[in-house]
């Protein structure tokens, strides 16, 4: 079937298009040449060493990790509670509530960034780490609600009802039965929120106070000069972190899921 063969070749081309540029970043980060471009003159780890010695980049990593962790904690708490309400209860106005909760991803990020920034300026609040955190919470929240909701649908209620009917208090039931069942969903939500926060740049550029850089804004600032091998090395570290963490997370979630099943 030649049509099918064509589709297969096309698919290979699409995948190459998606992955080759990223592969080149990883390849060039090991380049021994001091210009960070082709032709490669040999393999070397020196750019990773320079990265490690670059105080600005290390600071950006600390900011990004702190911001991502706090965003994940807050956003997942709000998102899991809301997703529980949406999956477990029927109430009037449910559709409207769902739409409101995913509204932050329907609004273009620039508009969201402008609205929040100007509103807090109006309230005399200067740009700060807190503003950055609030911003990251609001645009990761819809993703957490969607992801957690999708996982929650699969959890059956009768286990909890069994615990209650066997004499456990609602509080005991929540901590002994519901929470362990929820763990994979909570974990998935946190991972999502962390990764989105860690990767964000548009909103961050509007909200960040002067002198504070996250890893993406640091890369963006470095790009203004020229593409140095250091940026490729930083890119490789980012790829390992943002691809490796979710894969690790998926493995842990599967473990958690297997244990509670």
């Amino acid at each position: 079937m030649s049509g099918w063969a064509l589709i297969r070749i096309w698919t290979v081309v699409v995948y190459l298009f998606m992955f080759l540029p990223v592969a080149v970043v990883v390849l060039l980060s090991f380049n021994a040449s001091q210009f960070g471009a082709f032709p490669m003159t040999g393999l070397s780890l020196r750019w990773f060493g320079e990265l490690w010695a670059n105080e600005a980049i290390l600071r950006a990593f600390r900011v990004s990790f702190l911001l991502g962790a706090l965003t994940a904690a807050i956003s997942t708490t709000l998102g899991v509670l809301a997703a529980l309400a949406l999956v477990r209860y029927d109430f009037r106005g449910k559709n409207l509530v769902s739409t409101v909760l995913i509204a932050p991803i329907l609004v273009p990020e620039v508009v969201l960034a402008v609205a929040l920034l100007l509103f807090l300026r109006f309230l005399q609040m200067p740009k700060s780490f807190a503003l950055l955190l609030l911003g990251h919470v609001i645009f990761t929240l819809p993703f957490v609600v969607l992801v957690v909701q999708a996982r929650l649908v699969g959890i059956r209620r009768d286990v909890e009802e069994a615990a209650l009917s066997l004499g456990a208090s609602p509080r005991q039931t929540f901590f002994a039965v519901t929470l362990p069942l929820l763990a994979p969903a909570i974990f998935a939500g946190m991972l999502f929120a962390f990764t989105i926060s860690f990767d964000d740049i548009t909103g961050t550029l509007f909200w960040k106070p002067g002198g504070v850089e996250t890893v993406p804004t640091q890369i963006f600032a470095m790009l203004r000069n020229s593409i140095s091998p250091e940026i490729n090395a930083l890119g490789t570290v980012m790829i390992v972190l943002t691809v490796g963490l979710p894969l690790l997370g998926a493995a842990i979630a599967r473990r958690l899921g297997a244990r509670t099943r």
Binding site: I7, R8, W10, T11, V14, Y15, F17, M18, F19, P21, V22, V25, F38, T77, G79, L81, A82, L84, A85, Y89, F91, S98, T99, V100, L101, I102, A103, L106, V107, P108, V110, V111, L112, V114, A115, L116, L117, L118, L120, F122, V137, I138, L141, L146, V147, Q149, A150, T195, D199, I201, T202, L205, V215, P216, I219, L223, I227, G235, M238, T242
Partner: protein
């Protein structure tokens, strides 16, 4: 009994309260605020004059500079969406119909979502830049004597956007194709349709909701993009979000920046509303399942 029932009825709202409060205070109220603010005036001294002045809107709507950039932004978003649909549909079809490799293809499809947006955007500098892969290869082969500057134009902005948005398209089309009963196509075949006819008459129409979902995401994300034109575009390739940033952060003309933001929101919001009317938001949520 009544108290138990009212408690049961209140329960979902207690659970929803924190999230709804956050969305209200951090999104809805600020949006209402910039709607009001866009009618204020910024004076030369830097103070705002409250009131109902239509000057910002008149400027945002009539200045040919803003209009051209708005039209340019919509054109770039439309081309990006079209390219994503044409490139992504066959790939999604292949994933949905291939039995052996589906799991690995899907995993690979999800990977770009996790690779940093700024890294994926800047990776094209390594490929197309003056000392990038293409130029080095052409120089080595002797095709060209001098490196050519292929970057920093509208085409590379679109290339960067397609690279960023293609996975969204493939995933959404895949989700809708996967939900189509394969025996429908076989039934059409056995009734005398060719494979191509069966695809065109049966599968393609049934997959349109997924194509529409992917298209909406691609268009809205492309039209709101801020970083790609700065990294891969030239000085004349500014898009609408760059204008907004310029007005707010550089010129500190917040009322004008508010009006420009709301213009973008109105246009993209109208698209989302149209989509919601004809297809429904649940199609997009399915991509997360």
């Amino acid at each position: 009994m009544a108290t138990v029932e009212t408690r049961e009825a209140r329960q979902p709202w207690i659970l929803l309260a924190p999230a709804l409060t956050a969305v209200a205070l951090l999104l809805l109220v600020p949006l209402a605020f910039i709607a009001v603010y866009s009618f204020w005036l910024r004076t030369a001294t830097g103070a705002d004059i409250a009131g109902f002045h239509t000057d910002n809107w008149a400027e945002a709507l009539s200045d040919p500079f803003y209009r051209d950039i708005l039209l340019g932004t919509l054109r770039i978003a439309a081309i990006t969406t079209l390219v994503c649909a044409l490139a992504g549909y066959p790939a999604a079809y292949f994933i949905a119909r291939s039995k052996a490799n589906r799991a690995i293809l899907l995993l690979l499809l999800m990977l770009p979502f996790w690779v940093s947006y700024i890294i994926r955007t800047m990776s094209w500098i390594n490929i197309l830049g003056v000392s990038g892969a293409f130029n080095s290869a052409l120089l080595a082969m002797g095709v060209i004597g001098q490196p050519i500057q292929m970057l920093y134009n509208e085409a590379t902005v679109i290339l960067g956007l397609v690279h960023f948005l293609l996975p969204f398209m493939v995933l959404n089309v895949y989700v809708s194709l996967e939900g189509i009963d394969e025996t429908l196509e076989q039934a059409a075949n056995s009734l005398g349709a060719t494979r191509w006819q069966a695809f065109r008459e049966v599968t393609l129409p049934l997959s349109l909701p997924g194509l529409a979902a992917g298209g909406l995401l691609c268009f809205v994300l492309a039209a709101g993009t801020y970083i790609t034109p700065l990294v891969l575009g030239g000085p004349t390739d500014a898009m609408f979000a760059n204008l907004v940033f310029e007005a707010i952060i550089t010129q500190l003309d917040w009322p004008l920046g508010s009006a420009l933001s709301l213009m973008l929101l109105a246009i993209l919001g109208a698209l989302v509303a149209l989509y919601n009317h004809f297809v429904g938001m649940s199609q997009i949520a399915r991509g997360f399942g």
